[in-house]
């Protein structure tokens, strides 16, 4: 087990744990609500990968942009999108953070510069390149943080985007969440080179593999990558090695992997790992943990109440926003 980084204090440790637990509890409730028919469509849970979102978001600043995937609840919560509008979006209610039009796979929020869960694998990478291009042309110091899974590395858009971002020295931080399975296809069954970060090197992009189960490791690597990007030295890529504990989506019967493999990974899960370390270091008691869990559950319950009580968009508004209502300045 990794040691806590030197100087980790109680406040910091509890904050990181609370952030991860908020995601875990939110999604646990989402799974129940899916079973109860309150949430429909495709829903992809982040269970097991929380250290990635939370570690990354410790580094991002207000003016940075985030581009995400269809497995983005964790990114959205850690980025600071309020849980109420997020849960309302899961329901498809008009108070949802995308106005109810996107659902689980398409979370958007202008206030936090969250440019969406993109449900086309690899489809978000070119957008992140463009967001970074705009930032660079305006002389800003923001970065575009772009999440994608290891499956996206097989898409042309991955290669085109890495090349273009490196060629133009754009401030993109490419964040590859390598959870080893592209839906049901194991990495080694689809890639001739299974070290994703090695692919980035071919484009002159600074890249490294990171233990994606360790929130501190993720944060440190992201900080270094973002600094490079902010300094005008071009993009960086992190291959964040992680694992999803649950099925790909709610329809997945998981014929492609052994239960034992899942159980083995669960032993090293990001929450268990941090909880054990904080307790061992005397920075957290069982009471602390229970209080954090209660707070998260209360926040989730309030979000569910908000979603339940929210209205549906009137059918008369069906065609709203197909074209922009306001001219952007």
């Amino acid at each position: 087990m990794n040691e806590l980084p030197a100087g980790t204090n109680r406040e910091r440790g509890l904050h990181l744990l609370a952030e991860m637990l908020r995601i875990r509890q939110f999604e646990g409730r989402c799974a129940e609500l899916y079973g109860a028919g309150r949430i429909r469509g495709f829903m992809h849970l982040y269970d097991g990968e929380e250290a990635v979102a939370v570690g990354v978001m410790q580094v991002l600043e207000k003016d940075d942009a985030v581009v995400s995937t269809y497995r983005e609840h964790g990114h959205a919560i850690a980025r600071g999108i309020a849980m109420g509008p997020l849960m309302a979006e899961m329901y498809g209610k008009r108070t949802g953070c995308s106005g109810g039009r996107g659902g689980s796979m398409h979370i958007f929020d202008a206030a936090t510069r969250f440019y969406g869960g993109n449900a086309i694998v690899g489809g978000g990478l070119p957008l992140a390149v463009g967001l970074a291009l705009a930032e660079k042309m305006r002389g800003g110091r923001g970065v575009a943080a772009c999440f994608f899974g290891e499956g996206a590395a097989a898409e042309g858009e991955f290669h085109e985007s890495l090349n273009l971002a490196a060629l133009w020295k754009l401030p993109v931080v490419f964040l590859c969440e390598n959870n080893l399975y592209a839906m049901g296809t194991a990495l080694a069954r689809s890639e001739s080179q299974t070290d994703i970060h090695a692919k980035a090197a071919a484009y002159g992009v600074r890249a490294m593999a990171v233990d994606g189960m360790d929130v501190f490791a993720v944060e440190a690597a992201t900080r270094a990558a973002a600094e490079v990007a902010r300094a005008g030295q071009g993009p960086a890529l992190l291959e964040l090695r992680t694992y999803r504990f649950r099925a790909h989506s709610m329809f997945d019967t998981q014929l492609y992997r052994d239960k034992a493999e899942v159980e083995e990974w669960r032993k090293h899960g990001p929450l268990i790992s941090l909880t054990t370390r904080l307790k061992a270091a005397g920075l957290m008691t069982e009471e602390d943990f229970q209080r954090i869990e209660r707070d998260a559950d209360a926040e989730v319950q309030a979000a569910v109440d908000f979603a339940e009580q929210s209205d549906w968009e009137p059918v008369e508004d069906l065609a709203r926003h197909v074209y922009a209502e306001v001219r952007p300045q």
């Binding site: 942009a65 581009v67 949802g96 953070c97 995308s98 106005g99 109810g100 039009r101 996107g102 398409h106 958007f108 929020d109 202008a110 440019y115 969406g116 993109n118 086309i120 489809g123 990478l125 070119p126 957008l127 992140a128 390149v129 463009g130 967001l131 970074a132 291009l133 705009a134 930032e135 042309m137 305006r138 575009a144 042309g156 858009e157 085109e160 985007s161 090349n163 273009l164 060629l167 133009w168 709203r320 926003h321 197909v322 074209y323 922009a324 209502e325 306001v326 001219r327 952007p328």
Partner: protein, 332 residues
């Protein structure tokens, strides 16, 4: 009559003037695409602009249609006003994911939070013996998609004037420039600076039959109308200009006047723009028609290389004249 500025220029120069004006008047505007800089543009549209505006604003891209079109979409969402040039509509299929799954959906899917004010220009159509991977007219693929606006400038004025309203429009706008028109010369009128984006236009008034068309086929219709006029048949020509949205009112007003319609479309007939226009006329003006609607479209073949076969595949003056004559015979 629209007042003339007295300048005769090519379609190519008209497009360039529009781009130059946009770059000069708005610091958010930049041009990017394959060979737009050092090479001067595949069709020489942007020749000289790199020297004038510099590398930051005239950006040569790798041959990565998906990445640079997507980058245009991202930059537009972040407040820039990119003009993305894709060499031809045939190559734009490599960026179809970005255009259809992102540009067209993000405003709606984000509940209006992220409009996408990107302009994507691309050359289209046949007539230069470039064979089946450089000659197709796939405008209807994009005109099919809610969230996009699609325009087809066919005149010198529109080539010059449609870019500005396209850049001011908060929605993604796709501009189709016919390859065969770049060398066409014509007079630039004073109206060019304020061209609108969504209306069809009666290019030539007439009383006997309406020719509905767009793009390069406009000029085939003009030639056909002149020939028909020699036989006492006065054709009215409606230049669609905007392929999405379609301007039903202008089309129907002409149908009410002439009661006969021939639609001329360089796309293939099956599932074409001509099919959509015809159905709208049937839905809204069936009882105003004195004859069945006729269509002149490209033959259902990949456009071939040799001149005689390419010509035979495309709508032509002769085929348009024959369609009109057949229709006039039918109703007399």
């Amino acid at each position: 009559m629209t007042p003339s500025t007295g300048t005769r220029i090519t379609y190519r120069e008209a497009v360039k003037q529009g781009i130059r004006e946009a770059l000069s008047s708005d610091p958010r505007v930049f041009l990017m695409g394959e060979d737009v800089g050092k090479y001067g543009g595949c069709f020489a549209v942007s020749k000289g602009l790199l020297d004038e505006f510099g590398e930051e604003r005239i950006r040569d891209t790798p041959l990565s249609e998906s990445a640079f079109v997507g980058a245009g979409i991202g930059a537009a969402m972040a407040g820039m006003r990119p003009i993305v040039e894709v060499m031809t509509v045939n190559f734009s299929l490599l960026a179809l994911d970005q255009i259809v799954n992102n540009a067209a959906t993000l405003c709606h899917m984000s509940g209006g939070q992220f409009p996408v004010p990107v302009v994507i220009r691309m050359a289209t159509g046949a007539g230069r013996q470039l064979a089946a991977q450089h000659s197709h007219s796939l405008e209807v693929w994009y005109a099919h998609v809610p969230g996009l606006r699609v325009v087809a400038p066919a005149t010198i004025d529109d080539a010059r004037g449609m870019l500005r309203p396209a850049l001011e429009c908060p929605d993604p706008v796709i501009i189709f420039e016919p390859i065969s028109l770049y060398n066409m010369e014509g007079e630039l009128t004073a109206a060019a600076a304020s061209t609108d984006l969504s209306h069809a236009r009666v290019h030539r008034p007439g009383r006997d039959v309406t020719l509905v068309t767009y793009g390069a086929s406009l000029w085939r219709c003009v030639a056909a109308a002149e020939e028909l006029a020699g036989n006492g048949i006065e054709a009215e020509i409606v230049d669609l200009r905007s392929l999405r949205p379609l301007d039903d009112a202008t089309i129907l007003a002409s149908v009410v006047k002439t009661r006969r319609v021939v639609i001329v479309d360089e796309g293939w007939r099956t599932c074409s723009l001509s099919a959509e226009v015809a159905m709208r006329i049937v839905e809204q003006g069936f009882y105003d028609l004195d004859a069945a609607i006729a269509r002149v479209c490209s033959e259902e073949v990949p456009i071939p290389y040799p001149k005689h076969l390419e010509d035979a595949a495309l709508p032509s003056q002769a085929r348009i004249v024959a369609a009109v004559r057949g229709m006039m015979k039918q109703v007399q």
